[in-house]
């Protein structure tokens, strides 16, 4: 029988929530890496027991953790178990935690500056890994979206990381600026029909696409309209909060921008707004039903000044028409005195026949629906604030 494993990253550790395919009774494991911020945890679609975790701390920096047994044991892949902990020269190994922008003449790009909050220019400075995206075909290949914004790739199971510098160096970098959470590359989508095509999104720069495996990139923000920047239709500078795709239609992407929900039907060449009858179109998460590519989910947040759900009601909104027409999903969710937020990487869908939807809140709840959003129940109620949610179906 199939099972489901939910990986929840929180402000104070990672949690693993496991169930059978009914998704009614859950086992909770954790906290793993107690006390550390876990921005993201995700499993390989090729080998579900291969998990990658971003563990970080403002004091101690960035750690990459890996499990090869579904989260029972963990190690830093730069120093695998059973291997020497030092190089032949006697230097300590821990290369898996080392994210260095590539400025080499051969493959790199000069380390330029980006716009800071006050409008001045500031050099790129690595802070943390926001998102880990394992390859669709190789468990040892994984991408890392980082702050300050750049994309890294490991092809050795996370032991070493190399920047795909064509993104940071493609030319518009000085116009990029941090959002309230930092200048983060938070979304990485791999095209299942074309291994050379990758979509990413940066707050606040916008969405970008490569068609050559990461060598060159182009901004894909035509159609975005952002009133809070000097030129509302600029090529870059938009605060994209998240993007999502159904793998069966890789040219169709959905976007939750700072304000506005949008879609593209041509791989990002043109976007148009689909906010429709949403009560507010500010928000962070957006995701797509696993089997119905025109069914999408958002959690509207009151405003950029009040990062909690509107009217004290936690409502997931679903559109079955690819946008514009939205219905509130409330069964099992608190409908009074609720003031939580749902952050950009904190929603996921599973691929079981009856599609499961999952999301985590700033109040520490992780909710699950085993029927595409019609009914909800909390898996856990009292975790630390949830930063990310991913789900795996286990055969």
């Amino acid at each position: 029988m199939s099972g489901v494993r939910v990986l929840a990253g929180t402000r104070k550790g990672a949690f693993i929530l496991s169930s059978d395919a009914k998704r009614e009774k859950w086992d909770v494991s954790g906290p793993h890496f107690a006390g550390w911020e876990i921005y993201h945890a995700k499993g390989s679609p090729v080998d579900p027991d291969r998990l990658y975790v971003s563990q970080s701390s403002g004091w101690f920096g960035q750690i990459i953790q890996r499990s090869d047994d579904g989260g029972k044991t963990w190690f830093q892949p730069g120093t695998p178990p059973g291997e020497p902990t030092t190089t032949p020269e006697g230097m300590p190994k821990a290369e898996s935690n080392k994210f260095v922008y590539d400025t080499s003449a051969e493959t790199g790009a000069p380390l330029t500056t980006h716009q800071f909050y006050d409008g001045t220019q500031k050099p790129w400075e690595f802070k943390r890994v926001w998102h880990l995206e394992p390859s669709l075909s190789d468990p040892d290949t994984v991408y890392a979206g980082v702050e300050d914004a750049a994309l890294f790739r490991s092809t050795d199971g996370g032991k070493t990381w190399h920047e795909l510098s064509g993104l940071r160096g493609h030319g518009t970098g000085p116009s990029w600026q941090p959002g309230a959470g930092g200048m983060c590359l938070h979304s990485v989508i791999l095209d299942p029909s074309d291994p050379a095509r990758i979509f990413i999104a940066i707050s606040a720069a916008g969405a970008f696409r490569t068609d050559d495996g990461g060598k060159t990139w182009k901004p894909i923000n035509r159609g975005l309209h952002s009133l809070y920047i000097p030129n509302p239709t600029a090529e870059v500078g938009h605060c994209v909060h998240h993007i999502a795709m159904n793998p069966s239609r890789p040219n169709v992407l959905f976007m939750q921008k700072h304000w506005d929900v949008l879609r593209t039907d041509d791989a990002g060449e043109n976007w148009h707004e689909i906010s429709g009858n949403l009560p507010t179109d500010f928000g962070f998460v957006i995701d797509v039903h696993a089997h119905e590519p025109e069914t999408i989910y958002v959690v509207p947040i009151k405003s950029d000044g009040e990062h909690y759900v509107a009217d004290g009601k936690l409502r997931v909104y679903r559109s079955r028409t690819g946008g514009n027409e939205w219905e509130a999903l409330t069964n099992g969710l608190p409908q009074s005195n609720c003031y939580v937020n749902v952050l950009r990487d904190a929603m996921a869908v599973d691929s079981l026949d009856s599609c499961g939807i999952y999301f985590g809140t700033s109040g520490g709840q992780v909710y699950a629906s085993a029927d595409a959003g019609d009914n909800w129940a909390p898996i856990v109620r009292d975790l630390p604030p949830v930063l990310s949610v991913e789900v795996q179906v286990l055969k």
């Binding site: 403002g58 101690f60 821990a94």
Partner: protein, 98 residues
């Protein structure tokens, strides 16, 4: 034998319960002690000193014998009491966190 006291989160990362002890060859300085620490506990590399610059991370401080050693040269000899193991070198988070 050199004694080093680590902050809680670095003890859990290094999987040690208490202060660590190190053999340090040559002169006992911040640099030689941290080099030995990172050799014995490679998972700590980058958590105390930046991976690239080797500089102390901004929110960490070094103390020994009730002295703040955070801003001295990493090649300055540490106090005799640290070098002979009477007192530990303390690596401390600079501010408390929730």
């Amino acid at each position: 034998m050199i004694r080093v006291t680590l902050p809680y989160h670095l003890r859990t990362l290094a999987r040690v319960d208490d202060e660590v002890t190190l053999d340090v060859q040559g002169e006992v300085t911040l640099r030689s002690v941290l080099d030995a620490l990172e050799t014995q506990y490679p998972m700590l590399r980058g958590t105390i000193r930046d991976h690239v610059t080797g500089e102390r991370r901004p929110f960490l401080r070094f103390f020994a014998c009730e002295e703040d050693l955070s801003h001295q040269s990493p090649d300055t000899p540490l106090p005799d009491a640290v070098a002979n193991g009477t007192e530990p070198l303390v690596v401390l988070g600079a501010i408390a966190g929730g």
